[in-house]
Symmetry: C2
Subunit: 579 residues, 2 copies
């Protein structure tokens, strides 16, 4: 990967540049965060002419290293006002890497209000009208792109919400079967792409040369070590937890731990949990038959296969994938215990181009504001029409949970840095609360998944209700995660590599094999820390300092059933995170 491709939406020119030396050997989040920090003025308006979108495949994308097909998308977030990296697993990442493109950079704003798309090949590309896709749902857009450019064409597409510059909008990449359903969801990067009038990017990788590892043997050794670890660990092996029940296996687990946020973070247990659990999901996939699938994968080379296809009652496909976070946000968090309603909400989110986490947190806040009752699945589905029709209410909801709460004077808004909290109650799982508070991304579980030791006894154990040693725990997880996000690895390889030493060695060997570097174990956290500090530097310059590393005030005085805990890690202790 020795090229940069710049897409200028003002001039509608696509230009190929050699990758500057400083960016060589970087990839994924490492590269996207460096470039955003270097090229985007931290104080720019996220939807103005000076923001950029950076698409960077991970270092290992398109290698045979297992579960390495993730792409990072970077920019200034219109949701948080800070830097954003959102990543997705998709064949798009692997194609980009094979084409030798370390990053696609989208710049400028068009002077008209039209829809455009970009076709990118090995030697350049062109910006062409996309009038036929203007306002079209993400799913249909994806189908049209495959009809037009051929099956397997890698694409990223913006849904109608992103086109309307709603900051709840993510970006949809294709899955192996062409569904526009693999989301770089968080932080509103769809709104940034919408501001640039860019509906889609398609790749033509027919002339791709492929990758050239510096040490193919070492890469292969590492691949095998990591694959063996993945296939050995209970969480990630074939027939293991993720493969059998999808990520939704966590519904029952978190509910039992009292950490499943319910009814807009009012309690940590949901009466209807069983009905929306991974077990219920697997049962539906089995009993309804037809399209229903557990063990689906988001990109070739994934050997965990935690994705799913959820069927309608008649067995026809309803939606892929139904993830833990989505079931929680659109289910338990809204008091909704009907899996068909949840699946329809996920489909609507995917088609509109919405981050399912932010959408569910937003609906929960809307329920809090009295717009509808907790548990009203059909009412929640109707709210999606408000977004689709761009009504005033749609424009409120489309801007996310903090915005919706602010519109109605709600004080119980579960956000950090304006980003909605994911599926783990920080009062009941305190380490993840530290991650929410301190992450450069706003509330984000993937930034440092301390849930592993706190709930799943992976990578040791840590009492979720205790505030002891949670700062260091979160920092270690955040550092390691930033490294994995740079490598392009799926975060779920963390389970095996935390428990199986050779798997961790495999990760380092694959990176060294690809790059010709000599990274040791310590470099993983060193590089991760470096990435985090680049992001923090951007945030500081954007006006997001330690005063924004805070939990919502209500969590400090409202006790969460069933443990009746408050958030009690002092702010001063949070501030030691960066020491």
């Amino acid at each position: 990967m020795d090229k940069l491709v710049r897409i200028n939406m003002t001039t509608r020119k696509v230009e190929v540049e050699p990758l500057p030396d400083k960016y060589k050997g970087k990839g994924g989040r490492w590269l996207s965060s460096m470039m955003v920090n270097d090229e985007v003025p931290a104080d720019c308006h996220p939807l103005g002419p000076n923001n950029k979108l950076v698409f960077a495949p991970g270092i290992l994308s398109s290698t045979r290293a297992p579960n390495s097909g993730r792409i990072s998308v970077g920019g200034k977030s219109p949701l948080t006002g800070g830097i954003k990296e959102a990543n997705a697993g998709t064949p798009f990442s692997q194609s980009l890497a094979r084409m030798g493109i370390a990053a696609l950079v989208v710049e400028g704003l068009p002077e008209d209000n039209k829809s455009w798309m970009v076709k990118v090949g090995v030697d350049g590309g062109e910006v062409v009208p996309a009038d036929d896709l203007d306002g079209v749902g993400a799913y249909e857009s994806g189908h049209k792109l495959w009809e037009k450019f051929g099956e397997k064409t890698p694409f990223v597409v913006n849904g109608p919400a992103g086109e309307a510059k709603m900051v709840m909008a993510g970006l949809a990449f294709n899955d192996p079967e062409g569904r526009a359903a693999r989301y770089a969801g968080r932080g509103g990067l769809g709104a940034v792409m919408g501001s640039k009038g860019l509906k889609a990017i398609c790749l033509d990788d027919s002339d791709a040369r492929g990758i050239e590892p510096a040490d193919a043997e070492l890469l292969k050794t590492g691949q095998k070590k990591l694959a063996d670890a993945i296939l050995e660990h209970d969480v990630t092996k074939k027939g293991g937890a993720l493969n059998s029940f999808g990520t939704a296996v966590l519904i029952n687990i978190l509910n039992e731990a009292g950490g499943l946020p319910t009814n807009n973070f009012r309690t940590g247990v949901f009466e209807g949990a069983q009905k929306i659990s991974g077990e219920a999901l697997a049962e539906a996939a089995k009993s309804r038959g037809g399209a229903g699938t557990m063990g689906h994968r988001c990109h070739p080379g994934c050997i965990i296969s935690c994705s799913t296809v959820y069927p309608h009652e008649d067995g026809s496909e309803h939606v892929s994938s139904v993830e833990y976070e989505s079931i929680w946000s659109l289910g338990a968090n809204c008091g909704i215990d009907n899996l068909d309603h949840v699946a329809e909400l996920v489909w609507q989110c995917n088609d509109l181009g919405l981050d399912t986490i932010e959408a569910g947190v937003t609906i929960g806040v809307a329920m809090e504001a009295g717009l509808l009752e907790f548990g009203d699945g059909e009412g929640a589905i109707k709210l999606m029409d408000e977004i689709r029709n761009r009504t005033p209410l749609g424009h409120i909801l489309g801007q996310g949970a903090q915005f919706t709460g602010d519109a109605y004077g709600v004080t119980r808004i579960p956000c950090v840095k304006r980003q909605g909290m994911p599926a783990y109650e920080p009062r009941a799982v305190k380490g993840i609360g530290v991650t929410y508070a301190t992450s450069t991304m706003g509330a984000d579980h993937t930034a440092g998944y301390t849930v592993a030791p706190e709930i799943m006894s992976v990578g040791g154990t840590s009492d979720p209700l205790s505030k002891k040693d949670k700062i260091g725990l979160s920092k270690a997880f955040q550092d390691t995660t930033a490294f994995l996000d740079a490598a392009g690895y799926c975060i779920f390889i963390a389970f095996p590599i935390l428990d199986i030493e050779s798997g961790f060695e495999g990760v380092i060997e694959t990176v060294n094999g690809m790059l010709g570097t000599d990274y040791k174990a310590d470099d993983v956290t060193r590089i991760g820390d470096e990435v985090l500090r680049i992001e923090r530097d951007f945030n500081f310059r954007a006006g997001i300092g330690k005063e924004q590393d805070r939990m919502p005030e209500f969590m400090k005085y409202e006790k969460l059933p069933p443990h009746n805990n408050v958030w009690d890690i002092p702010d001063e202790e949070l501030d030691t995170f960066w020491d």
Copy 2:
């Protein structure tokens, strides 16, 4: 003034306390900002249980010092997220001072959703139901209070927008004739009062002891010096600019300077300026006769009398007062050149309890977003119904200009620290731009009115288009203003005291006469600086640092006709403001 009265909305108790020593000799903004900084956690939710509202009359309130009847209202702003002081001229301030009450402090939240009001007397008070005022417009609420408690009863009342916790809401104090029309308008303090379920506060000053100046002779000497200066200066004398044409005298002046923001800050000249000018206002008051009045006053003791009563065509009263800022925001800024439409918009704002500046900036942004055409006065009036009816669109607009722009992905949003800019284009009047950027309050012209030397040749002259020496100019004005806000003086005494030395001496002598202090000229800026730094300390702790002392990005790259200037004072120079 040796008492504090605390109104606790959780317990519904009213308690009188002796004024702590540290607050003695303080008043107005000095006292409100000190108390907010001391008692309100900077990181609290502005509408949650931990915010407070502080009502503090100026040091000289109820003395015979001219134009000293202003009250400061402080709290954490739900609009800016920082500290807020908004002040108004009203008999309420004078009564509070006569009652010996240095501050009313409203604390806590009720556990129900009912409307409450408070009656405060010399020795205490009580919280009583206000069901009959629930959702009632500010004007009618005021009338009902006078019917119930007698004419001349001093009151402050919250409009329906504040009750709905819309952060565009200010607080309406009574004028001498009982209109709920003297606004502490900016920063959303109406939403704070709404969050506390408090519809109104009424004073019973029948047992008031009056004030006891430390040196009555010195006070009298100062009074006379200041009064003489006011009555001598062209801007403030009887038959002078303000008295004859109201504050709206500025419409033509700013328009000619190319600094009258028009059509959401697109240009600095408005074709229809003449039709909404102070001259047109005076002509309507004269030709329509009846209630039409120039030279009205907001509180007894005012000798400038710049307030107005605008009549309907038939001579009946339409609205009081129609100010420059309101005519600009709801007129030129929205491209509306019909004074009757503007007057109706002002009436609507007053009745709903909206800050007219924020309302006009918001409508301008709504026009920018395409919700209606620039110039559509009738459409703008209809938007007020959306707020009154609490529709989703009303909930968007009610949260102000930044919020409205964000809802629709607009990038041309003229706000600093989320507060809408007032009536002076910072690209054409650069000193006031420095005030907007650096004020602890968000964009606020009253914080440091450099327009005096830049446009009116008062207090010297300074080229409005030049960026030279504007930091120091703004700092000097902001310091002095903070002192005047502490004293309870109307900001318009700045005109005479800038040009007439004895007037300035009069200000210091009145304060010394009242307090028994020995303040010199240097103490004015020293104390002002002290107040600003208290406020900045709060803002820092609330997460508002120098990165928020910034002009909107679009002003840095969009040239403003007719001078075709951009905002070009570098951020680094703005940061020297506090050195």
